[in-house]
């Protein structure tokens, strides 16, 4: 590992900024922080009912247990009992009514976890049961909505259908998914002096935590400091869903005036928290003999939880991804956000886009089946061309989807692959192969326009080392490595001079959530702006210092390899360290704040029109799977991914994101099955019952082609976002399984394979096909 080639690899793709600490177990997550002597442990009594009136709460016995410092319920909240952000509809602790199983009702803070757990058992709550809403159908019947329905319309849908050679319609249900980050939810609240609290929270939204904690404690934002070093995975599950635990820890700290820690066990974490939104997708598509779509109508019935959470934004993203990579001359997209008695469903990598995309890809498969045309051809026939408009009115500026498809076909040897599969299936009775294809066009920027801003703060210290704070959260996506690379490049210094600080609301206020894949884009740009501000001052100073026989031109001054020089006279230079020292002596500012907002975006969520995205990420994937017809298990033989990424900041990081997201997408639609009992309690609440992919579930061959290109439709230093788009590639595995199953009846019929495609779902689908075809 120490050849020159390896060194070059390391230089080209810098390693994880905290890698050495993580890999030795020395890097601290919140749970690893030394425990203050008087630390109190918070445990929660949650509702066992999905819907019930609270008749009475008796805390007296719990309060009298030795070692218990406080027992708190709704009445003890000093400020507003309200943690909702998009809609103010969610209490921290319910006063009179519980709305989901696992909703916190009473908390205990005690000297030890064991004492807190004992005390919890001594709390008596009387409930009067109410009828819960536990399915999409029940919610529809009761018109149980989180908000009004939303629409996006383009062209004339009726005309479109009338002009189509064929019209088909149907319904497909996407499933939920647990985040299964390895680090469960945790927060620690530490009272300092003067009614001030420091919150260490495993959150993707420190400013939201700050704001909401202040609100429930009846304090001001200036009184609350949130500090986040790193998360052990987030995937959206700590964007909104981390706030409640931070608030509860803060409430306990407020009452006890002692540091309080609240950490969920895995079982509690999986039982009590909201997950990916299941969506019932009712589609109707009109198309011509050549496979070109004329009209697409889709209605998403979105299974939100008991409170609004992020459901409306997730619905919005599903709606603006309902087209995926395809041009629809006439479209009608409807989103209906349903309120049910489940934990508030929330963000999960993709944020609605995977569901929206799944519906149209499912529709593509149906068109292909109807016309008996190769599914890849149907997809190619409908791909966006530059200049066309999306149903919400954004112009496609730089689509290279057609080229990407050509690459995919070439890389996979598509035509031969299809032939081989047919040959194989002809000979093999019990093992069947199938191919699935899924492209992606993923819109970058928050559809909530105000979220598209952030800032960064850079200090160069006297010794020439650099401290960078930014508004993003490091949660494994290596935003810190990327931001450090941007700063490194601007100052022309080596990475070891740069420290990326924890995210702290004192240094970076009003930060927006680390979400929407936009974190490196936003914060990288903010850091660049801050760096450039300092550099512009330093350049003038360097100009003076480098002045010798003739005046150095400002634009010729280069910061590189830790030195500053005139590129026309590179022999005379000044080191970065010396420059900084002298700049300090000359009272030149060595600090700057960079503010960035994403330009040229707009969106009206009510009208469903605008150009919400700065750019799109494009790519496509093909998977070849083998389904065991007898066991219902499948193996991914090969997956080919072609991914366009602008000018990547770090190819190794971006590849890691593709690999991880792909497998998470596969898990979502196949083996990850969430089950609830008839009372609304999640019974798959442990890794022994909820199965995420292991190393044995990866593709036998994963072939990723990463295509770099210069495009103005990109972000910091020409790079593109990477976090969420590749999750969509996992859908190709689902369609490959479906394709393999359909070979059982010689592709004569379409299967109603239910989602997720578990062995049970696969076996049942095969049985059904066999029955129909017999």
């Amino acid at each position: 590992m120490h050849s020159n080639k390896d060194n070059k690899y390391r230089e080209t793709f810098p390693q994880h900024l905290s890698g050495k600490w993580l890999v030795t177990g020395k890097a601290r997550f919140i749970f690893d922080e030394p425990k203050p002597k008087d630390l109190q442990f918070v445990k929660i009594l949650t509702s066992p009912h999905a819907h019930a009136r609270i008749v009475s709460i008796d805390k007296s016995q719990a309060q009298n247990i030795k070692g218990v410092s406080t027992v708190l319920s709704a009445e003890d909240i000093p400020g507003k009992n309200q943690i909702g952000v998009v809609a103010k509809d969610e209490p921290l602790l319910p006063h009179s009514k519980v709305n989901y199983v696992g909703q916190p009702v009473v908390i205990v803070a005690a000297d030890s976890v064991a004492i807190a757990e004992t005390a919890i058992k001594q709390i008596k709550i009387k409930y009067k049961l109410l009828k819960p809403i536990l399915s999409i159908n029940q919610a529809l019947k009761n018109n149980s909505l989180l908000s009004e329905i939303r629409k996006i319309e383009s062209g004339n849908i009726q005309k479109g259908f009338a002009q189509s050679d064929y019209v088909i319609e149907g319904l497909v249900n996407t499933c939920s998914q647990d985040h299964f980050y390895l680090e469960t939810q945790i927060a620690r609240a530490i009272p300092t002096e003067d009614n001030e609290f420091i919150i260490q929270s495993a959150t993707q939204s420190p400013s939201e935590v700050q704001d909401v904690v202040a609100r429930v404690l009846g304090l001001k934002n200036k009184d609350i400091t949130v500090d986040v070093r790193r998360l052990g995975g987030g995937f959206g599950g700590k964007e909104r869903a981390a706030t409640i635990w931070a608030c509860l820890a803060a409430l306990a700290a407020y009452k006890t005036r002692k540091p309080c820690e609240l950490r969920l066990s895995r079982v509690d974490d999986m039982s009590w928290r909201g997950k990916r939104h299941p969506m019932e997708c009712k589609y109707k598509v009109g198309f011509n003999k050549d496979g070109k779509m004329k009209a697409y109508a889709i209605e998403f019935n979105i299974k939100g939880g008991a409170y609004t959470d992020l459901s409306l934004a997730i619905m919005q993203r599903a709606m603006v991804h309902a087209d995926n990579a395809y041009f629809m001359p006439n479209a009608r997209i409807i989103g209906r956000p349903l309120r049910t008695n489940f934990p508030p469903n929330t963000a999960l990598r993709g944020f609605g886009a995977p569901q929206g995309i799944f519906a149209i890809e499912y529709t593509m498969e149906r068109i292909s089946h109807k016309l008996k045309i190769d599914p890849i051809k149907i997809r190619q026939a409908n791909l966006y061309q530059t200049g066309q408009k999306t149903p919400y009115g954004q112009k496609i500026q730089d689509s290279n989807l057609s080229e990407l498809f050509d690459r995919l076909k070439k890389n996979s040897g598509y035509d031969k692959l299809v032939q081989d599969v047919h040959k194989f299936n002809h000979k093999s009775n019990y093992i069947k192969r199938g191919i699935g294809i899924t492209p992606v066009k993923f819109g970058l920027s928050f559809t909530k326009i105000s979220h598209n801003q952030t800032s960064a703060l850079i200090w160069i210290y006297e010794d020439g080392t650099i401290s960078v704070s930014h508004g993003g959260i490091e949660m494994g996506q290596e935003v810190n490595t990327k931001v450090a690379q941007v700063v490194e490049k601007q100052f022309g210094v080596s990475l070891d001079r740069i420290r990326i600080e924890s995210n702290n609301t004192r240094r970076i206020g009003n930060s927006t959530p680390t979400a929407a894949s936009a974190c490196a884009d936003l914060n990288g740009n903010a850091a660049k702006i801050a760096a450039d501000k300092i550099i512009s001052k330093l350049k003038h100073f360097a100009q003076k210092l480098l002045y010798q026989k003739q005046k150095t031109k400002l634009e010729n001054i280069v910061f590189k390899n830790n030195i500053i020089f005139d590129k026309q006279n590179p022999k005379s230079f000044i080191t970065f360290t010396d420059l900084v020292k002298m700049a300090f002596a000359e009272r030149i500012p060595l600090c700057a704040h960079g503010f960035y907002k994403t330009p040229n975006i707009n969106f009206d969520p009510i009208k469903g029109q605008g150009s919400p995205f700065l750019y799109f990420v494009y790519g496509c994937a093909l998977s070849l799977v083998e389904v065991d017809v007898l066991s219902g298990n499948f193996t991914i033989k090969k997956t080919y991914i072609v991914h366009e990424m602008g000018k990547s900041l770090n190819i190794a990081i971006d590849r890691g994101q593709i690999e991880g997201a792909f497998l998470q997408g596969v898990g979502w639609l196949t083996i990850e099955e969430l089950l609830y009992d008839d009372k609304g309690f999640c019974i798959t609440n442990t890794p022994s019952t909820y199965k995420i992919p292991t190393i044995k579930d990866i593709a036998q061959e994963l072939n990723i082609e990463m295509i770099e290109r210069d495009t103005p439709y990109s972000s910091v230093l020409g790079s593109k976002a990477i976090g969420e788009p590749p999750l969509i590639y996992g859908e190709s595995v689902f369609f490959a399984i479906k394709n393999a199953i359909e070979s059982v009846a010689d592709y004569k019929f379409e299967t109603n394979l239910t989602i997720p495609a578990t062995p049970e779902s696969i076996i049942m689908a095969i049985e059904e096909l066999k029955k129909i075809s017999d």
């Binding site: 590992m1 390896d6 793709f13 390693q15 994880h16 890698g19 050495k20 993580l22 890999v23 030795t24 177990g25 020395k26 997550f29 749970f31 985040h179 299964f180 980050y181 390895l182 680090e183 790193r230 998360l231 052990g232 995975g233 987030g234 995937f235 066990s265 895995r266 009775n429 019990y430 494994g476 290596e478 007898l630 066991s631 298990n633 190794a652 990081i653 590849r655 890691g656 690999e659 991880g660 497998l663 998470q664 083996i671 089950l675 442990t686 890794p687 022994s688 019952t689 199965k691 995420i692 992919p693 292991t694 190393i695 044995k696 990866i698 578990t758 062995p759 049970e760 049942m764 049985e767």
Partner: protein
């Protein structure tokens, strides 16, 4: 509290622990080493993986295990290696360096566990194959990387160090084994472990076990713990607190594998990993090897024992199903002597077994005959999953005629069962495609599966049918050509 002495990353530690503490909590809260992470507390995620060295038969054996599944008291006399015992940020261990170089780290929460699993692999396997790497890491969940980069790092290490495996050992390993052996001779269990509370007893011999049991007042309602991979989950997750334990994991007399006439005897205390390495089993009972590889993860197999697995009486225990098909017998031992029972008669109802008070499973006797055997497991995930249905078939043949048949099923009844009717139907039959169909329909009438989170009864019924097809397909491929 119990006094324990052990080596921690090469250094001797003397301390005391309560009986109900697991090693993960002990490492984090008592030793204040926070590199070992908690991800699930039930042995399913691998974030808390550690390596433990144990003296057995005068040798030190190192294995990677889930620290959440091991009572801390069991560290007595062992060598505990945690992530802190490998490299430091300034001086990374080669495994750590490889993970860093190959970008096998994203959020980093699972990383220490991955490092320890790989360390455990390379300690036991000087030239691991890709398959060995998969086996070693199947018990480490990572939600970030998609495993590709981790796998690349592991393959790099395997190639790089194949001729120099000792370079992967921290310096303190050179002295530690000697120390550990003499240490184990020196420490006395009874005296060392303070017996005032007496709620956790670790006998070193069968004699000691049965003597303790004489005092029935003391050991009434005692829970026997062997590997503990299921019991500890109960304690950690379901908070089932047992008052008293007898831990039989230190009794060497129940840790053996030997031939006896026409059968093989496996001591109840033999771990799955030990069985996997055994030459007799590899040669004579390969079906057991392939089945065990489908049970749990590497970390689980390193502590779980065959006796514990049978005694735990899971309705869908993979190995039990196979052993019933193989017509295995259990040798049970109490103070009054040995008795032998058919494994297929051992289960009475859900989690109720034939074991008497003050009796243990001593060994499993497996007949070695010329048979055709096959095992099938139907589970959601390829690795580390509990089956919806499993089945095993064992046929004795003369030409194409079946002279004896045993079909066993798990997941279709409160305990693994022998399908008596279907088995007896097969006797005397000539194998044809029709025979297999007929067997399926007899089985269908014979079983009464239920619906639960691992599958509906309809699905289970279909799986049984399909597994029978698969068995015959594997054993008689010519029938299906």
């Amino acid at each position: 509290m119990f006094n324990i002495s052990f080596f921690l990353n090469g250094e001797e530690v003397n301390t005391s622990v309560p009986s109900n503490l697991n090693t993960l909590s002990f490492i984090r809260n008592h030793l204040n080493l926070t590199g070992t992470k908690e991800g699930c507390s039930e042995g399913d995620c691998g974030a808390c993986t550690i390596v433990i060295g144990k003296v057995r038969n005068e040798k030190v054996r190192y294995v990677a295990v889930n620290s959440c599944l091991i009572p801390a008291i069991r560290l007595h006399g062992k060598h505990l290696v945690t992530i802190e015992g490998l490299g430091s940020p300034d001086n990374l261990h080669p495994i750590q360096q490889a993970l860093l170089d190959y970008h096998g780290i994203q959020c980093g929460y699972c990383t220490p566990g991955v490092v320890m699993s790989l360390f455990g692999l390379f300690l036991n396997n000087k030239r691991p194959t890709e398959n060995d790497i998969h086996n070693a890491l199947e018990g480490n969940l990572c939600r970030c990387t998609g495993y590709e980069s981790i796998k690349k790092a592991a393959i790099f290490i395997a190639n790089r160090f194949k001729n120099y495996p000792n370079k992967l050992l921290p310096s303190y390993f050179t002295e530690i084994n000697k120390k550990l052996l003499s240490f184990n001779k020196r420490i006395l269990w009874k005296q060392d472990i303070n017996e005032t509370y007496n709620n956790y007893n670790i006998p070193k011999s069968l004699k000691e076990l049965f003597t303790s049991w004489d005092d029935t007042s003391k050991y009434e309602s005692c829970k026997i713990i062997n590997g503990g991979t299921d019991l500890m989950v109960d304690i950690n997750i379901k908070k089932n607190l047992y008052n008293k334990f007898i831990d039989i994991s230190e009794i060497e007399e129940i840790n053996f594998i030997r031939r006896k006439n026409h059968s093989t005897l496996i001591g109840a205390g033999t771990t799955f990993s030990e069985i996997l390495e055994n030459c007799i089993i590899k040669l004579k009972l390969p079906i057991i090897i392939s089945t065990i590889l489908q049970i749990g993860s590497q970390q689980i197999r390193n502590i779980a024992t065959i006796g514990g697995n049978i005694g735990n009486a899971s309705p869908v225990a993979d190995l039990t199903t196979v052993l019933i098909a193989l017509d295995a017998k259990l040798i049970l031992k109490s103070k009054s002597g040995l008795r032998k029972v058919n494994l297929s008669d051992f289960y009475l109802s859900y989690k109720k077994i034939l074991l008497r008070t003050n009796e243990i499973i001593f060994a499993i006797e497996i007949p070695i005959k010329k048979t055709l055997t096959s095992f099938e497991k139907g589970a959601k995930r390829k690795a580390v999953d509990i089956a919806s249905v499993n089945s095993a078939i064992c046929l004795e043949l003369k030409n194409r005629t079946i002279t004896n048949a045993r079909i066993a099923l798990g997941g279709v009844a409160p305990f693994p069962v022998l399908a008596v009717k279907a088995s007896s139907y097969l006797k005397g039959k000539i194998i044809t495609k029709d025979t297999t169909k007929k067997v399926s329909s007899i089985l269908n009438a014979e079983i009464k599966p239920i619906s639960d989170l691992r599958g509906s009864k309809e699905f289970r019924t279909l799986l049984v049918r399909n597994q029978i097809t698969r068995h015959f397909l594997k054993l008689f491929p010519e029938l299906y050509a």
